[in-house]
Symmetry: C3
Subunit: 144 residues, 3 copies
């Protein structure tokens, strides 16, 4: 066992009207590089209740399929109690984001996120307008 | 980089027959305060296979919409193999909880959970009876 | 507060054609034992974009119910944009895995994962062929 070190920072991600899905893996690996942590874990959470994080193979087909799926799991056209009270038209956004979840963790090995070759970390905006979303990143590990 | 400190504790959350959703953000922020950790990450997991954790805007509309959605994703009325064997009527509860996921992590910045203004951490009971659920909380970070 | 120690390792899990669900709790508790960490948190992520992690009561009924549910949430028979481009027949696998999520965290208390009595950590293969999947495990905590 070794003593764990900590590093943290914030990413800002510009996202279009939801569902929009952006690859944030390069930015996360850049934070891993800045952290000088070689082995450990990266914890990330999307700030705001209509954003989420997960991993996918970031290619246009899967991106389109996942957008279709989240709109199928919580469609825009349904009556939502949130909209009856707030009239902001994003009842589906809240349900989608709660389903997908706000946070993930990914191992760091040899100074890189330990993902599959065709696996990327993505930030998703579910809101019914473009959003500049913050993702909080905390890295724990050792320099060797 | 700084050395990471650790603090941990258990929350007990009283929840009604599922799906029931309770805001646990004040209790989590109280644990952050007790931890004396200023910057880091809070990891939490629901103990028991019919509970889950996520974040939502905790207002009555979204709470009602998310209850409706989890009951739509895994309805009570369907035939579940779990029930054929165990006859405890909560086959849907198990599927809902696995879908939503048992754990989340949220960054701590300046001695507070780093959530959106309208974003709260919630514990969900999916079981078909009221449950007093335990949520295990582990906080890692630095005092400055 | 105490200083956090870190330990990490990789599990390999043999999984049949998806959806296949395997209990990895014994292997994770063995890593906790090896880590000599008594109290803290275990972070795990599935490597590869068609795998996921969650917790369930690992008994045949719930396993069957969850397989049925993920196939209902993202059925095999639908037209997926991923398949139109790649013709590998696993468009549903990618959507299912993104939905379930690649990572979880579970508290460690008294040298054991802090789960419910009928709650196990499972690795899920959603791919349309058998896969030997890697799960990266990072353990943070203290020896006392």
């Amino acid at each position: 066992m070794q003593a764990a070190q900590i590093f943290y920072d914030t990413l800002a991600v510009s996202l279009a009207t939801g569902p929009d899905i952006q690859d944030i893996t390069p930015e996360l690996n850049e934070l891993v590089r800045q952290s000088r942590i070689a082995n450990g874990v990266l914890c990330a959470n999307a700030v705001g209740s209509t954003g989420s994080l997960t991993t996918i193979e970031f290619e246009p087909g899967v991106v389109a399929d996942l957008k279709d799926a989240v709109d199928r799991w919580a469609p825009k056209g349904m009556p939502y109690a949130h909209e009856l009270a707030w009239h902001d038209g994003n009842g589906h956004s809240h349900v989608q984001a709660a389903l997908m979840g706000p946070s993930i963790n990914v191992a760091i090995r040899n100074r890189r996120l330990r993902l599959g070759t065709w696996q990327q970390v993505v930030a998703i905006n579910h809101d019914n307008r473009a959003r500049r979303r913050q993702v909080e990143v905390t890295i724990l590990g050792t320099a060797k």
